[in-house]
């Protein structure tokens, strides 16, 4: 069983549209949307949910006003500025609280509760292209790294049980916690970028992250024709760094048209993008065979 993660550094580069197309082209794959913060792949794949589970992670400090003597020690100790004194006593701001338990442990009156947090939902579903694992974190929640790990492990277990060859993941934007969790144990990272200063800047950072994980990188340039010079620059940079090029696609309105119909681009046979995507996918599979 192999695993591919599609990432981009920068948001909006076309990661999910590409992931949807590859989901269509892949035989025998389980799909996994690891962008648990703002997942979009379900909008293309229309998953039918088989099972829905709650995601609990971390804890949250809550001050019991009955027991609190307003000594203020919790606010002094909190490194996250999560505790402030208001008109009706000390309060924890749940968005700032990291759940570190310092205030809970050191409160002289034991006036702080520490319940586990319900952070979101996750799902195992069926799609027209195969099974899918996905989630939705509640807005404002953290611990997305743990949820990403949970989704990946579930997908891997399901792939093994069902004899599937490939775990195909749509990753999260950025280079932080959720992306780092996405990268763990992956065979190949497909980085989707676009020929803009932001695209190149973020590609370099995310490729450096992949290097750190010793994950092989292949690069797809989306909307290449909005700046051919920059496209050349990106391709030259990839070559110099030993990152394989998976292909380039023109700026094409059909991506949005497909999205509006809830379809992936390759479901439209007469679309010029379809052939390019098929070629790129073949190249990616060949490259995957060379990964250790």
């Amino acid at each position: 069983m192999r695993e591919i993660v599609i990432i981009s550094g920068k948001g909006g580069a076309g990661k999910t549209s590409v992931a949807g197309a590859f989901a269509h082209l892949a035989d025998n794959a389980i799909l996994c949307d690891l962008d648990v913060d703002a997942p979009d792949l379900h909008l293309l794949l229309n998953p039918q949910i088989d099972s829905e589970k709650q995601f609990w992670s971390g804890f949250e400090a809550i001050i019991d006003q009955e027991k609190c003597i307003n000594c203020g020690q919790c606010a002094t100790l909190c490194r996250f500025d999560a505790i402030t004194e208001g008109e009706d006593g000390f309060k924890v701001n749940p968005f700032a609280c990291e759940g570190c338990k310092v205030c809970v442990t050191l409160c002289p009156e034991q006036a702080i509760d520490f319940p586990e947090k319900h952070c979101g939902q996750w799902y195992v579903s069926q799609t027209r292209f195969g099974p899918m694992v996905h989630a939705q974190l509640f807005p404002g929640e953290e611990n997305s790294g743990r949820l990403v790990t949970l989704l990946k492990q579930t997908a891997r277990t399901m792939a093994e049980e069902q004899g599937l060859d490939l775990v195909l993941c749509d990753g999260a934007p950025g280079i932080g916690c959720p992306v780092i969790s996405s990268m763990a144990g992956t065979d190949l990272a497909v980085v989707v970028t676009e020929p803009t200063p932001s695209g190149l800047h973020d590609l370099k950072r995310v490729a450096e992250l992949c290097d750190g994980f010793r994950t092989k990188v292949t690069v797809l340039i989306n909307k290449w024709d909005i700046n051919p010079d920059m496209t050349d620059q990106i391709e030259a940079w990839c070559t110099s760094r030993g990152h394989a090029l998976a292909g380039r696609f023109p700026h094409d309105k059909s991506v949005v048209d497909a999205m509006l119909k809830g379809k992936v681009i390759t479901e439209f046979q007469d679309n010029p993008m379809t052939d390019s995507l098929k070629q790129s996918w073949a190249g990616i599979l060949a490259l995957l065979d060379t990964c250790n």
Partner: protein, 287 residues
Amino acid sequence: MIYAVASGKGGTGKTTVSSSLAALWDTPVALVDLDVEEPNLHLFLQPDLTDISKAYIEVPEADESKCTRCRACVDICQFKAITIMADTLLVFPEMCHGCGGCLEVCPEGALSPGKRELGEICRGTAGSHEFIMGRLRVGEAMSPPLMRQIRTLFPDLGTRGDILIDAPPGVSCPAIAAVTDADCIVLVTEPTPFGFHDFKLAWEAFKPFGKPMGAVINRATLGNNAVKEFCQEHDIPIWAEIPYSRDIAEAYSRGEIISLLLKGLEETFIDLRRNMKAAAKGEVRHA
């Protein structure tokens, strides 16, 4: 006043809007890039960065010889950053959130404050405006502590004028942290199914703050009407619409600021600025 430019989804044009506003802001403003994972504002504003300093988070350093294996530190640590394995005290600095709990509870003084590099904070000027950005070290997982250090500068910056924040994408903790201080939130979206879906998530996440909030619809001539209908239904003012144009995409790809470049757009962004300033003061918000 503090203004945050946010977006549920990446790539909707947040940095396009921030850079365009920065170029047209008519009063003193500090431009702050809080998208520390992938800061991009500097690529467009080309600031002169005169002060670059490393940012650290406090993590414990262990002195094995003083440790009695009482496990108080292991018990308090919620992030699995400290453990005792085979009678050896082990610290995993990369897991540490810097809460300081272990330092507080260790009865033997076996733990002392050390540090882990989070990234850097870069300061300088873009034209006549102050410019500040954080840049997370590649491989560092936690962006909120770096963002927190930049946010401690706000009270000082705020005495000198407005603050315009380019926020990270998404609706999880970094995005929430970025809009916490704002007097007014601009939500940049695009009228596609992805854009609309993430716009709804962002609106739901930010609504409880009760701050003035308005939408900017980028690539407004692509896609469908779902975003506009949602805004109408939920009384979210649309402060600006930027049409889809290949000229804009190409200008952006050359690192240019679109409000200065293309006819008609200057007016759009001046209107946006006016709407933001009026909203932050609590004046009528509908354009």
